[in-house]
């Protein structure tokens, strides 16, 4: 359905800095009041004033941990969680079997060593989850801090885990925090994500990624160079090396071509002005560019296709595809032809391709190759059925007619005669074949 008020719609999508001022319209206040009642009737949707006055909760504050009432409550809750199902209630399920309850190695008994919190770690975490007032300052010993962290992890609430980690970050030295985080994978991942978000990345090997923030190409190149010493896997190290080499060369090619283009020395730039700079383009785009503007250069120059092919270990198949695309775009059919032509030792020429000729046809067709060019490659398709269907798709009449002639398929020739224009050259050709052949 179409949205009711197109002007509002328009507004949502176009409001940039233009402010919008409304004029008065009538309201639906009664409905509002009614639904407001509904909202308020559902608890916890609208967060009421803080529940500090709640009797049950207040009994916690000031009560020394380890007191009788505390331990009674503690026991009661442990009974509940071991599966005694209350009416209408749902059982607790073990949510993190991989995570031992006290992975810190500190038992609950460490709580009884005389520290007096207003709230236990469990209570604190619960209060944090519920958005109530809490206090972390009293978790001062390393043990207490870790107990708190583990409790947050056990509650599965990422928001609280991160809140505790922020407190630990402020109140523990890096070395201490990291040492403890190593054995706490869930907490560690929250911490890494948090650091990432606040962009405090100096600690992390996000350095390689940082190159994206550098605009100046020379600075970016130098930065990439500095990344070469980082402990990448051998494979990744090769890729980073390539990245550096690529940008280094792109800078050289760009400077040169810019100058050549503006001086108007080379026809190719006049005929096909560059649409964008080659800086920061992928390797294959760079190769395409090189096949487009620098075809035939000796492999000694950085900008030559041969040099790029060799430097970046480009496969035959990839090289051919890219070269083909570039030369076909320029309608350099002679170059296209040369790509496939091989001579054997007797000097005969033959057309070969590392990819099926039906693909070549497809690429040529997408580059608007004329029928004369297309049909040469359609002819090279091995599978007769595929050949005919391609020929029909691209209207290569000669290929179709010759194939039917070779197959001596008179019936198909007659059918095809009906499809071509009466009196055209292909029509006459079919007529000729039909009349020459013996019935």
């Amino acid at each position: 359905m179409i949205r009711g008020k197109p002007d509002e719609d328009e507004y949502w999508n176009s409001s940039k800095f233009k402010a919008f001022t409304f004029d008065d319209e009538d309201d639906d206040f009664t409905r509002l009041k009614e639904s407001k009642r509904a909202v308020n009737s559902i608890r916890s949707l609208v967060e009421e004033e803080d529940e500090e006055d709640d009797v049950e909760k207040v009994s916690w504050s000031g009560e020394p941990v380890g007191s009788i009432s505390w331990s009674v409550k503690e026991t009661a809750s442990s009974i509940r969680s071991t599966g005694e199902v209350r009416d209408q209630s749902f059982p607790k399920i073990n949510t993190a079997p991989s995570l031992p309850k006290n992975s810190s190695g500190y038992s609950l008994s460490s709580l009884f060593k005389g520290t007096t919190h207003d709230w236990t770690p469990e209570e604190t975490v619960k209060r944090m989850q519920q958005g109530k007032v809490y206090s972390l300052e009293k978790f001062r010993s390393l043990q207490d801090k870790l107990l708190l962290l583990d409790e947050a992890v056990n509650a599965h609430d990422g928001n609280v885990i991160t809140a505790v980690l922020i407190y630990l970050k402020k109140s523990l030295s890096k070395e201490n925090l990291f040492r403890e985080l190593i054995t706490r994978e869930i907490a560690l991942r929250h911490y890494i994500h948090f650091l990432k978000e606040i962009e405090e990345q100096k600690l992390l090997l996000m350095q390689y990624r940082d190159h994206l923030n550098i605009r100046d190409e020379n600075k970016r190149r130098d930065f990439l160079k500095s990344c070469l010493s980082l402990p990448f896997s051998p494979d990744d190290a090769t890729h980073v090396q390539d990245h550096y080499t690529l940008l280094e060369r792109q800078i050289i090619i760009e400077a040169n071509d810019k100058q050549v283009e503006s001086s108007g020395q080379a026809d190719i730039f006049k005929k096909y002005p560059r649409k964008a700079s080659i800086l920061n383009m992928p390797i294959i785009t760079t190769l395409y560019y090189s096949c487009f503007y620098h075809y035939g250069e000796s492999d000694g120059t950085y900008s030559s296709p041969a040099n790029i092919r060799k430097t970046f270990r480009i496969s035959d198949k990839q090289f051919l595809l890219t070269c083909l695309g570039a030369r076909a775009k320029l309608k350099a059919w002679f170059d296209v032809d040369a790509l496939f032509t091989t001579k054997n030792w007797l000097g005969y020429t033959k057309k070969r391709s590392p990819i099926g000729f039906h693909r070549i046809v497809d690429i040529l067709q997408k580059n608007n190759a004329p029928v004369q060019v297309l049909q040469e490659y359609v002819n090279l398709v091995e599978d007769a059925e595929q050949k005919i269907s391609l020929a029909q798709k691209y209207k290569c009449h000669d290929v179709i007619i010759n194939t039917y002639r070779d197959l001596k398929d008179r019936q198909q020739l007659i059918v095809y005669r009906g499809k071509v224009e009466r009196g055209s050259s292909e029509y006459r050709k079919i007529e000729e074949i039909l009349s020459n052949s013996v019935r």
């Binding site: 179409i2 949205r3 008020k5 509002e8 719609d9 507004y11 949502w12 940039k16 800095f17 402010a19 919008f20 409304f22 319209e25 509002l32 639904s35 407001k36 509904a38 909202v39 559902i42 608890r43 916890s44 949707l45 609208v46 009416d87 209408q88 209630s89 749902f90 399920i93 949510t95 958005g131 599965h156 609430d157 990422g158 928001n159 885990i161 991160t162 809140a163 990291f178 190593i182 994978e185 929250h190 890494i192 948090f194 978000e197 606040i198 992390l204 090997l205 996000m206 390689y208 994206l212 923030n213 896997s233 494979d235 980073v240 390539d242 992928p282 390797i283 294959i284 198949k317 595809l321």
Partner: protein, 617 residues
């Protein structure tokens, strides 16, 4: 298919109440900052907000001007600024800049941040660090659930997938629990919950705790059963090309918050038009779940009927004509407009798909699902990469290959990765690291070397411990076991049988009969067995974390076959696709059930993979 609805299928609950609740709470919050104020809205909250309120509503509550959050200095002259945002560090940072700029300028204003659906401590901590805690008041707008249609409810949290499954950040677990709790309080009490996945388990726990904290109100349940499922239980399904109408429209035009923008190629005029796609659109409602190949026939039949209806006019006398105009014409015109729109969309999709050799692409996908001619598939993918065709499509195929084959051979992995980086940019090293960490694209043998991600962490700690971490991370990148699961659950029908798409026999129709989505098959099996009994091998291959729980014995109506027992709420944690929704609708029709899909966001292959990208500044 719309005709084959079983008569006894129960009615769906009315979810418009959720919209009203959200709107009224927003009004309540706006009233907490009395007087005229300018409102800054986060870009991705605008569409959801649009679905529940309009400019008039906001205006009635003293909102003067509206702005989109754009991370630039502001030009407002108002004395009160209100920010309606997601709890994100980046946005809060920007607000800090705004406030501190005002301070430096000696300008006094009142500020309020409304976080939706909840606030995070890390955001408040930032306010504190920036010295503006207190200058800025904060609130929460518990807008957890946006009904997109009669049977689709979205949390509109696309970042859930990346945050939870890639970063390992559980910040949204409680959000999911709260959303479920809201549904439970309004449409429950639920009597049975099934689930699979680590996040599902945690969300269940969070929900259970919230139920225990709150008070129980006795009421007649509208929704009886719930199924929770983690997106990473089934990553294959969202990576498949969608061929059911609604999914295809989403893949091609991207449906945003239930609304799609059709360009000039669809409207055959010079302007684009925005269309709501839901059950209110009678034409769309009849084709949304159909395989695309069936849509043309349906639309042309519909067009002929319409013609006949119009033709009735000839031969009418004045009185009949009057009745016709007042009673029928409007409906016909409406239908006419919708029909031409969907015909236009179908044509446009057809054209695009022909251009990209869709048939061949689908063939490759089906071969991967079937485990047939894998070498040919690899060559196809390789050429796709070599020709620099769509980067996301190449990545999608690579991930499908990895997921279905339990990882790539090291030789293939290295070669395809190298070619990918050559074609699309070496920055994608970061993408590969993310895909590996999530288990979307992995090598068959766990390498001993440090990848980018692991060495990142390695630097964080020290070299000695880096090894431990590598182990930890590689254990996260779990095996997908797709082939074995496929055999066990009959996910891939035998390809030699003819599949009649006009009369689908199972959920495989959504993928042209080639594959039954794993996610939906699990739901079907568990409902049929009323639990996981007999599926032990399957759950083991899915890394466990399955559960099935029933309300305590006093929840007596659990055994009574009420309508609510045949309404099943399926919650996808990490997103679900329109194809999966179509499959569940099919299943519902077959079994006389009604499914309600709750999802953290509507996803598809492109959205899922784009969330893995890191190669932008």
């Amino acid at each position: 298919m719309a005709h084959s609805v079983r008569r006894d299928a129960p009615e769906l609950p009315d979810f418009s109440l959720l919209k009203r609740l959200a709107r009224d709470q927003l009004i309540y919050l706006l009233e907490q900052l009395p007087g005229r104020k300018d409102l800054f809205i986060e870009a991705d909250l605008m569409s959801p907000l649009d679905r529940i309120a309009n400019v008039t509503t906001l205006k009635q509550h003293d909102v003067d001007k509206l702005y989109k959050v754009e991370y630039k200095p502001i030009v407002s002259t108002s004395d009160q600024l209100c920010f309606l945002i997601r709890p994100r560090i980046k946005t809060v940072k920007w607000i800090c800049d705004v406030v501190n700029a005002d301070k430096a300028f000696g300008r006094f204003r009142r500020y309020k941040i409304i976080f939706s659906p909840q606030k995070f401590y890390s955001c408040e901590n930032l306010l504190e660090e920036q010295g503006i805690f207190g200058d800025v008041t904060t609130d929460e707008w518990s807008f957890y659930l946006l009904p997109l249609d009669d049977d689709i409810i979205s949390l509109e949290l696309p970042e859930f997938f990346r945050d939870n499954f890639l970063e390992g950040d559980q910040r949204w677990v409680r959000t999911a629990g709260s959303a479920l709790h809201l549904l439970h309080s309004v449409y429950g009490p639920f009597s049975k919950l099934y689930g699979i996945g680590r996040c599902s388990k945690m969300a269940y726990e969070s929900w259970r705790e919230q139920v225990e904290e709150g008070e129980q109100r006795a009421r007649q349940a509208e929704i009886g059963n719930v199924f929770l499922i983690d997106r990473d239980v089934d990553l294959v399904t969202p990576l498949c090309s969608q061929v059911v109408y609604e999914g295809l429209v989403d893949d091609i035009f991207r449906i945003k918050c239930g609304c799609v923008e059709f360009g000039p190629d669809v409207t055959s005029s010079d302007k684009s038009i925005k269309v709501m796609l839901n059950s209110q659109d009678k034409v769309f409602n009849e084709i949304r779940n159909e395989h695309f190949s069936q849509v043309f026939g349906f639309l042309s039949q519909k067009a002929r009927n319409l013609q006949t209806a119009y033709d009735k006019r000839s031969g009418m006398d004045i009185k009949q004509m009057k009745t016709f105009v007042s009673e029928e014409l409007k409906g016909l015109k409406q239908e006419h407009r919708l029909l031409s729109l969907h015909i236009g969309a179908s044509e446009s999709m057809m054209k695009r798909k022909t251009k990209q050799d869709f048939q061949e692409l689908l063939k490759t996908e089906h071969s991967l699902l079937e485990g047939f001619e894998i070498r040919e598939c690899i060559s196809y993918i390789e050429e796709h990469i070599n020709r620099q065709v769509s980067m996301v499509e190449s990545m999608r195929l690579l991930c499908l290959l990895s997921l279905t084959e339990n990882g790539l051979l090291p030789k293939d992995y290295r070669s395809l990765k190298a070619q990918f980086l050559q074609s699309y940019g070496i920055d994608h090293l970061l993408t590969f690291s993310n895909l590996k960490q999530l288990g979307l694209l992995v090598e068959q043998q766990p390498g001993e070397t440090l990848t980018v991600m692991e060495s990142r962490v390695g630097k964080l700690v020290n070299d000695k411990t880096a090894g431990k971490l590598t182990d930890a991370f590689s254990s996260l990148a779990k095996k997908s076991n797709f082939r074995a699961l496929g055999r066990r659950l009959n996910l891939v029908p035998k390809s030699d049988e003819e599949y009649d798409l006009r009369v689908p026999r199972d959920m495989a129709y959504i993928f042209s009969g080639a594959y039954i989505p794993l996610s939906c098959k699990l739901i079907e099996q568990v409902l049929e067995r009323d639990g996981w009994t007999g599926l032990e091998e399957v759950t083991r291959m899915l890394n466990g974390h399955e559960f099935a729980v029933t309300a305590g014995s006093n929840g007596s109506d659990a055994r009574v076959k009420t309508d609510s027992q045949r309404i099943i709420l399926v919650m996808f944690l990490g997103g679900c696709t329109f194809s999966e929704i179509s499959a569940l609708r099919f299943l519902g029709r077959e079994k006389g059930l009604k499914f309600i899909v709750v999802t953290t966001a509507i996803t598809n292959s492109a959205r899922l993979l784009e969330s893995m990208l890191d190669n932008h500044a």
